[in-house]
């Protein structure tokens, strides 16, 4: 049979020499190897105190964006829901009434916007589909929860804090965000 790679090695069937049969030398060699590992750097990351950095392209939890004046950007067009391969996004649109101009950027907005984090595959297609730059994937991941319901994130979980009224929280959220 022809070898697929040239990595194959013939088994050495030579009888062991006396020194090899003593085993002691080889055991000491092995012990030296384990001893040298005492001085090696430990790759352990002590989790709650230390965290491993995500890669720059990491896609985490979604964030619903606001514009500079603190108005929600989302117009509930539904393109993200259409783009979503996991069908994790549902929304209900509503029309802006008079006096709500400071809350919503355009005449239509999402009254309800829910993402099921158990369905979501964090592919980022919603981010690509959005014509209004309203949805982004951040660098955090969904924390554990006790119920399945807890993984359905509504608007209150997704919306970024208002930059005008909650400047501190907004800056913090921005910092976490890519």
């Amino acid at each position: 049979m022809q070898a697929l790679t040239n990595k194959a090695q013939a088994v050495n069937r030579k009888p062991m020499t006396f020194l090899e049969r003593l085993y002691l030398i080889n055991i000491i060699k092995g012990m030296m190897i384990t001893f040298s590992h005492m001085f090696k750097k430990q790759p352990t990351i002590r989790y709650p105190e230390q965290k491993r950095e995500f890669s720059p392209v990491f896609r985490g939890l979604h964030v619903l964006n606001r514009d500079e004046e603190g108005r929600e950007r989302c117009t509930a067009c539904g393109l993200c829901a259409v783009a979503c391969p996991a069908e994790a996004i549902t929304m209900e649109a509503a029309e802006r009434t008079d006096g709500e101009e400071t809350l919503y950027r355009e005449e239509k907005y999402a009254a309800k916007y829910e993402i099921n984090m158990l369905r979501c595959i964090f592919c980022g297609l919603c981010e690509d589909a959005c014509p209004k730059d309203a949805i982004y994937l951040s660098e955090t991941f969904a924390p554990a929860n006790f119920t399945r319901k807890g993984f359905i994130y509504g608007k209150s979980d997704l919306l970024i804090p208002n930059p005008l009224t909650e400047a501190g929280a907004f800056a913090e959220a921005k910092g976490v965000e890519a």
Partner: protein, 347 residues
């Protein structure tokens, strides 16, 4: 009546010493479990237990507490009394060994001259052998009383392993006894303190055999056939829970400490600190330095045990028996012959 002539001070002195030695060995055993986990971790490039207390130092206490809090389970089909007797016997036998180990020379406290040894029996080594052989009863009874085929097989393995390796151990010791001419551990240590060299210089092969057989007696990897997890689940302590399991695990560590102490005493000068003149300091301080020296030697031996455990894989059963009967015993006999020849040539 000699019993009536024993003075009270002597009894109190011995009782205090027994208490100190027993509790000290329990405490050391507790921290040996921690040391084992830490050594294993460091040899495998990981931090090991580090959460409980500073550097994880409270971990053994947490483990002990956990073992005590667990439910005591005695299987229906088990033979109840033997089931309880097993771990107790294992623990007792391993603790009894410490009676003849000379922990230091002697101290003068409250006007009494106190030898730092519970009993200087003139057949100390024979006593150690007798007690160590008793230890296997703990495993055998526990394994048999569990009424579990894996436990029974493991108990059989433990018994045959102990018998096979005790022979070689005894033969290796005979060569040592030929050079020292005494069975008392105290005398053997004193000879090394006064003499130029430790016994390991005269008996390197004997020490090697003794060390390997001691490892087999303690059921330590590479000889931990009785608790081979992947063939026998958990071996003879399969059915045990709570502190009865704790006793078995503890007994193993105490055995390790005791065999380290015996090896240190017989081959590495016991409480003798090399290149140090004991007469240059007060006798009490010299005795304390001696105790410290012996403890350091014990810790080094325990580290060696652990280091070997985390380096070498387990033997196969036929290899174990082959090594015991076909290598260790002939080698020990040869060592005896050699020692005898050298002694004769010197005469």
């Amino acid at each position: 009546m000699t019993i009536l002539s024993l003075d009270l001070g002597f009894i109190i002195e011995k009782l205090i010493m027994i208490a100190i030695v027993v509790f000290a060995s329990l405490g050391i055993a507790l921290y040996t479990t921690f040391g084992e986990r830490k050594v294993a971790a460091i040899l495998q490039d990981r931090p090991g237990p580090s959460r409980a207390g500073p550097f994880g130092l409270l971990q053994p206490l947490a483990d002990g507490l956990k073992l005590i809090m667990k439910e005591e389970i005695i299987p229906n089909a088990a033979s109840k009394w033997l089931f309880i007797l097993g771990p107790g016997l294992a623990m007792t036998a391993s603790l009894m060994t410490c009676a003849v180990i000379p922990w230091g020379s002697a101290v003068d406290v409250f006007g009494r001259h106190v030898e730092l040894q519970i009993a200087d029996v003139n057949i100390g080594i024979l006593y150690v052998f007798a007690v160590v052989s008793m230890g296997v009863y703990g495993i055998m009874i526990g394994g048999w009383a569990s009424n579990n085929k894996f436990s029974l097989m493991s108990a059989l393995r433990a018994a045959s392993q102990a018998i096979s390796y005790e022979l070689a151990m005894g033969l290796a010791l005979i060569a040592l006894l030929m050079t020292t001419g005494s069975l008392s551990l105290k005398t053997i240590v004193e000879q090394q303190v006064q003499g130029n060299y430790w016994n390991v210089v005269y008996q390197p092969l004997g020490f090697l055999i003794f060390f390997i057989t001691a490892m087999a007696e303690c059921n330590r990897t590479p000889f931990d056939l009785p608790e081979a997890e992947n063939e026998l689940n958990f071996g003879y302590h399969q059915e045990y829970s709570s502190m009865k399991l704790g006793f078995y695990l503890f007994a193993e560590y105490i055995n390790m400490i005791m065999s380290s102490a015996i090896m240190a005493s017989m081959y590495f000068g016991g409480y003798d600190l090399p290149f140090f003149n004991e007469a240059s300091v007060a006798p009490n301080i010299a005795a304390l330095i001696g105790v410290g020296t012996l403890l350091i030697k014990i810790v080094l031996f325990i580290f060696l045990f652990m280091w070997i455990r985390w380096t070498i894989p387990r033997f196969r059963y036929d290899q174990l028996m082959g090594l015991g009967w076909k290598t260790m015993i002939p080698l020990a006999l040869f060592n005896m012959l050699l020692t005898g020849a050298v002694i004769l040539a010197k005469l």
